[in-house]
């Protein structure tokens, strides 16, 4: 490891003025395995997307083999020998492995047999045990990763970037994947991988870089890291302390157990998950991406289905429930406020009042659904006022609102249903600071009013400032519970990744 393949100097990328990465310096050596770790939103994905040409830098410089470059597209990055393997593979599932390998490189007179022979030889040279004639859609996650890697190597990639490569792999597949990474290193290929599993970083990497709040914190040799040092580097922030205040010193006493989830299973994402939610409390659910938090509560709210066989139980007020559609959960007093408001949260061309009234219709149900304009305006105006949704005019379309006001609208759309169990999924994602405090005040008001409130958040200071009890999820299940008075950032993060 003597020469630098890829380097970023003072790399900054801003979205609408907000820095996703801010003056980050990063260097990748030839034949090096380099782990990128950090909390959700730390800037890892943005940094790697810059390297892969998916996004361009706002300021700063990128050098490949010492030459300054500005990669505008992934194609340009591949031409420079940089390939990125995403969590969701970019393979065509209906084509064979060989066809995927040579996609875009087909000769004019293309013989399938020739492609298969060539692919077979190439895969054997990598010692990859994949049938070139197999349809990609039929392959497991690890084999798909192999095909992705093979394609990157075939395109003469000198740098391969993996984004959460092991998230969907079984333990056996993970071992296989680790062997592949080491074989790539042996071939002189440099590897960057993003992982939330610190043990993987400590096992695989030569060097580890920790990012926090879009800034570079530390880069060092693996041998100089242990888990405690990484966790400390990941969470040791101060900006958020001023925004979210200090930790709680008092918690609300629990009321009736309104919601109980027992041994819930959903595919490979939720694994035997169990938890309880009590009235009059805010239950915070923390975990890293892929911990199965959203999926668990979407099952509760009837938005996705649990496993057909032995899928576990959801009990509302002690009685088992299984909702086929979300409307039935709404009828029973469960509101799920989505993390993806643009996709699932509102009708963007409708007005504020119409959107809020749509929420009320979800509660009413029945055969005759009519929207009385006067009633819609009255309900909409009242809730917009209650939640301080600010707009230029009453009839403005939702798409024209700011992120914070859109989020408040989504919340109002659910609260108009007067639910007893309210599940907030990432309630302040993409929301300005002023709106954050108003949304937090509303969450606290709901808990004080005796509602059972769940706050799913990937942002530790938010979870700690809001929650009376904190559940930490890891790999599909809740692994530990903290009272708000005893929780520490380090303790929660340790539980989430250990």
């Amino acid at each position: 490891m003597t020469d630098t393949v890829l380097e970023l100097r003072q790399a900054t990328k801003r979205y609408a003025g907000v820095p996703a990465i801010d003056a980050v310096d990063f260097a990748l050596e030839r034949g090096e395995i380099h782990a990128l770790v950090g909390e959700n939103g730390a800037g890892k994905s943005t940094l790697t997307k810059v390297m892969a040409g998916v996004v361009t830098l706002t300021s700063g410089e990128m050098l490949v083999e010492g030459e300054s470059v500005m990669l505008a597209t992934p194609v340009e990055a591949r031409q420079k020998g940089i390939a990125m393997v995403f969590q969701e593979t970019s393979l065509v599932p209906t084509m064979t492995v060989a066809q995927n390998l040579y996609l875009g490189q087909e000769s004019f007179f293309n013989r399938l047999r020739g492609v298969y022979i060539s692919a077979q030889q190439f895969l054997q040279s990598l010692n990859f045990d994949v049938d070139p004639t197999a349809t990609v859609g039929m392959l497991g996650a690890a084999k798909k990763q192999m095909v992705e890697i093979a394609r990157a190597v075939l395109h003469k990639a000198r740098v391969i970037i993996f984004d959460e490569p092991t998230a969907s792999l079984t333990p056996e597949e993970k071992k296989y994947f680790f062997d592949l990474v080491f074989s790539l290193k042996a071939r002189g290929v440099s590897v960057i991988f993003i992982s939330h599993a610190l043990e993987e970083a400590l096992l695989l990497a030569d060097r580890i870089t920790v990012l926090r709040d879009g800034r570079h914190v530390v880069t060092d040799l693996k041998s100089r890291f242990d888990r405690a040092r990484i966790v400390q580097a990941m969470v040791g922030r101060d900006l958020s302390q001023t925004l979210y205040g200090q930790r709680k010193t008092q918690v609300r006493p629990p009321g009736e157990c309104l919601l109980s989830v027992r041994n819930l299973r959903m595919s490979a994402v939720v694994k035997n998950n169990s938890l309880s939610v009590f009235a009059g409390q805010v239950t915070g659910v923390f975990g890293l991406v892929g911990a199965g938090r959203t999926e668990t509560f979407k099952v509760v709210a009837g938005l996705i289905k649990r496993d057909f066989f032995h899928g576990g139980e959801v009990l509302l007020r002690g009685k088992p429930v299984r909702y086929r559609v979300g409307r039935h959960a709404v009828r029973d007093g469960i509101a799920y406020i989505t993390e993806d408001r643009k996709l699932e949260g509102f009708f963007e061309t409708m007005s504020i009042a119409q959107n809020i009234y749509m929420g009320l219709l979800g509660k009413i149900g029945g055969a005759f659904k009519t929207v009385s304009r006067a009633r819609a305006k009255e309900v909409g105006a009242r809730w917009a006022e209650l939640l301080k949704v600010r707009a230029i005019s009453k009839d403005v379309k939702v798409i024209e609102l700011s992120g914070g006001n859109q989020q408040k609208l989504v919340i109002a759309k659910s609260l108009v249903q007067e639910p007893d169990v309210i599940i907030f999924d990432e309630p302040t994602r993409g929301v300005d600071v002023g709106a954050i405090s108003e949304i937090h005040a509303e969450i606290n008001r709901l808990a004080d009013a005796g509602k059972a409130v769940v706050v799913i958040s990937s942002y530790l200071p938010e979870v700690m400032s809001l929650s009376d009890r904190i559940l930490v999820a890891k790999q599909g299940k809740v692994v530990v519970e903290f009272s708000a008075t005893e929780a520490t950032q380090e303790g929660i993060m340790y539980a989430a990744i250990h």
């Binding site: 043990e199 629990p254 989830v261 027992r262 169990s274 309880s276 032995h310 299984r322 009890r469």
Partner: protein
């Protein structure tokens, strides 16, 4: 017909009554180490039951009744059979159940005042809990008509449902059967005009009064056993063993259980136990699994220590635990004495004291 089809569907899909789930220990049930860290007051092999009048504390172990005196145990009396339950009245009367088959009431001087051998037409068989209801009546639970108190696991694995709860007015030798066909009655307590009694295999505590019987506490994560009054009007409830998905699964497999009961030494059954780790032949505790070199303290147990503090209206307020890597498992009795809580860990044979319960 419809019920049969529903039952068949549930068994096929693992839903409803056939869903192999156990309640989660969180909220007030959040695991802690209060029992592991409790002071060991005495080591009494065979320790089983405790009784108190609020000032004195009696403990039964084997055939002996001990009294806690000056910080240590003092032998009070020895009987000719194993003591399976004990109770103490406010005026110093002592009630003992011997071999589960007879109940004696002794006055404060130790003289026998009354004796009970039968409940209705059937003999007492497995009396496992006693509680005074005033000075002239005694509440008792008879766990099973088929198995002795020590064979509670046989009763669980054969789906026993012959438990009984009764009130015995020994002053006039009148017995009232309060509940029958119980799936292991184990634990009883007078609460005002009502009687609380545990039904272990149904994981619930019932409340019986003049208006009838209703469920006070249900869906417990353990098998409830003896109770004792708390100073604030609520009560303490022990769960002598805990539920696990593995055992729940075994309980839904009758053919497997029949063979296990017939062919395997009960010490090595896949079943809950009061203590574990004595033999390599035992089924591995879930918590025997190490992750990253650390014994997983939250993994499902084979033996466990659990005491619940329950409010008078049936809400669990807090809990005391001995985790799977702890030793104070199989808590069969608790007693609150002058602000301190004493617990009998039958699994370890230790009398524990929790100073600030």
């Amino acid at each position: 017909m419809l019920a049969t089809l529903t039952d068949w569907r549930d068994r096929l899909l693992g839903r409803g009554a056939a869903s192999i789930t156990v309640p989660v220990m969180d909220g007030a049930l959040k695991p802690n180490r209060a029992l592991d860290e409790a002071v060991v007051v005495a080591e009494l092999p065979g320790l089983d039951d405790l009784a108190t009048d609020g000032r004195r504390l009696l403990a039964s172990a084997g055939t002996t009744v001990w009294e806690l005196h000056g910080g240590g145990p003092r032998e009070l009396r020895r009987f000719d059979a194993a003591i399976t339950a004990i109770a103490l009245s406010a005026r110093g009367r002592v009630a003992v159940a011997l071999a589960g088959q007879r109940v004696l009431v002794l006055d404060s001087a130790g003289a026998e005042r009354a004796r009970l051998d039968t409940l209705g037409a059937e003999r007492l068989h497995a009396v496992n809990a006693l509680a005074f209801d005033g000075e002239d009546a005694l509440l008792l639970t008879d766990g099973s008509l088929r198995f002795a108190p020590a064979q509670w696991c046989h009763d669980l694995m054969t789906e026993g449902h012959s438990g009984r709860v009764a009130r015995w007015r020994f002053a006039n030798a009148h017995v009232t059967l309060l509940a029958r066909a119980q799936r292991h009655a184990f634990g009883v307590l007078a609460q005002g005009d009502a009687v609380l009694h545990s039904e272990s295999w149904r994981h619930r505590v019932m409340r019986t009064d003049a208006s009838g019987t209703r469920t006070l506490l249900a869906e417990l994560p353990g098998y409830p056993s003896r109770m004792s009054a708390a100073g604030d009007g609520g009560f303490w409830l022990t769960c002598f063993v805990c539920r696990t998905q593995l055992v729940e699964f075994v309980l839904r497999e009758p053919a497997y259980r029949r063979r296990m009961v017939a062919e395997i030494d009960p010490r090595y059954w896949i079943a809950p136990a009061l203590s574990s780790g004595q033999s390599f032949l035992e089924p591995l505790q879930g918590a025997g699994v190490k992750s990253m070199g650390v014994l997983k303290p939250w993994a499902p147990p084979r033996s466990y220590g659990l005491v619940l503090k329950v409010s008078a209206d049936g809400r669990i307020e807090r809990s005391l635990h001995s985790l799977v890597d702890g030793r104070h498992h199989g808590i069969t009795a608790v007693a609150e004495v002058e602000g301190a809580l004493y617990a009998a860990s039958k699994g370890s044979g230790r009398l524990l004291k929790v100073a600030s319960p």
